[in-house]
């Protein structure tokens, strides 16, 4: 009961933060309401939708919970036309690292379990978890004509945090047959790694071809 309420809250928060991140990018690119709404949907639901297409699962999350589509539409209208909401959204977003990290963790582990439950083997399942967590942002960047930010060296751990958390979860599920503990531990690890990479500068070793100059 308690935890269901918590999950719902985090789910709503993750969808909202994802949508806002898409809207801000859309505004930077001088898009209109259509573009703003489209990019918001792409970020919020793109990853889960790609996962469900790959797993051949229906109905989609956003078909079963249509109200989200409607909420994001209202958000987009307010963001595009109401100055105070627009400013608020930007302020919220600059302080949303934690919510974004929780969203990454939650979506990744949810994607992982979806794949495992469909009988996918372990390594594919872990990638499916990562895809669920990160693909929305990749779609956003491809559509606004930029190289996906999570493929760049700067910006901290994102896909890697998701991958590590998925494997922690897999180990706990497979070895100890403890799905709930796996879920909590995996999500926590993703959130922790993501936030550590932002605040402490934790990152992967530098690729051979990146110089000091590339990092600005």
């Amino acid at each position: 009961m308690e935890s269901q309420g918590l999950f719902l809250f985090i789910e709503v928060a993750a969808v909202i933060v994802s949508a806002v991140s898409g809207m801000i990018k859309a505004a930077e690119k001088k898009m209109d309401l259509v573009g703003t709404y489209s990019i918001a949907l792409l970020v919020s639901f793109g990853g889960g939708t790609l996962r469900d297409i790959l797993l051949n699962r229906r109905p989609f999350f956003w078909v079963e919970n249509e109200v989200y589509l409607f909420i994001v539409l209202l958000m987009a209208i307010a963001f595009v036309y109401v100055p105070v909401v627009h400013k608020l959204a930007k302020v919220l977003y600059t302080r949303s690292n934690t919510i974004d990290a929780i969203g990454l963790g939650l979506f990744s582990i949810a994607g992982l379990f979806a794949a495992l439950n469909m009988g996918m083997p372990l390594f594919s399942s872990s990638l499916m978890g990562v895809i669920t967590g990160v693909a929305g942002g990749v779609f956003r960047d491809v559509v606004i004509n930029e190289i996906p930010v999570i493929f760049r060296y700067t910006g901290g751990l994102y896909a890697v945090a998701s991958f590590a958390g998925c494997w922690l979860c897999i180990l706990l599920v497979v070895i100890f047959e403890a799905p709930f503990i796996g879920f909590i531990s995996g999500t926590s690890m993703i959130v922790a790694l993501r936030l550590l990479s932002i605040y402490w500068g934790l990152q992967l070793p530098r690729p051979l071809w990146v110089t000091d100059e590339d990092e600005k």
Copy 2:
């Protein structure tokens, strides 16, 4: 009988106009025959294909009506290599607003009914209608490396026209149980809104972040 013939004519015309719009973009980007044909197919069949993937429907429109694939191939060859066809296509295209609008209307409402018939809820179905009508053009722009034109403020109503027409159709279908009237009214509304936005400058209110300068 009469109306079937009319539908077929409009379907053929919509496919041809979509294909030509893709070819012209491909030529602007100095693509070759392969690129020209690919972009033409993407514009003509991309939206319906995405819809069918999302709805898990098979076979695709272009598998059941393979002849379209072949027609578009012949068109692409002629467009790329025969000067008179190339010029004709460009002239046709500059005068094709009406056909393009009818295509948008027809494809949108067809997508809407496909979703409703699969038991999708109303709001998702309306978005599925919009996706069917507009996604081909979005794919084209993503592949030729431009920000999708329907996401920009200039250019008039496009997705919005489709959305409004889909909802008129839904209302008529749900309240009055009149699919045929819904089909005719929805399509007409989309065509009307699209053409009004082109010829009378009808458009959405300007987003907060767009200035006079941005509009050129």
Copy 3:
């Protein structure tokens, strides 16, 4: 027995060459390990995955043969962090035209048979063969924000070689009911056309809009 071993070798070689081609592009764009691995997977498995989505086939090649995902991950790590491997991969790649061509041929004909076996009509099946052979490279170029190289006039025959080989195979299968001969002949034709276009400059006639200057 013999030929199975040969097929496995070519399959492995084609996956590796595809992955390396993706990694080199990722390095050019200064991506990190995540980007390098993602682009490598996209090139190696994107075409087959799109085909299976269009054909509604599961499980995917890379789910059934998960070990490839793992091999490509190890390759990406070595490519990003081990100087000697990085250099070796670049040298290998500049000499890999033949392997790449065999990969194109093999993947195309495999895609063609997959479509024919699902009962798809002939023309759609031939396009499905081409998509399987070339879509991975198109995805790579879209994500790294370039116009797909196979849509440009320079670069020789690629999709066209695949298309021609698929049709040779279809003719042999349909007229002579000789799948194995079709497979061998189709693949050979693709490889031959691809290599002839590279070494002898065989190409399509120049589109109307391409001038001497465009060709550099």
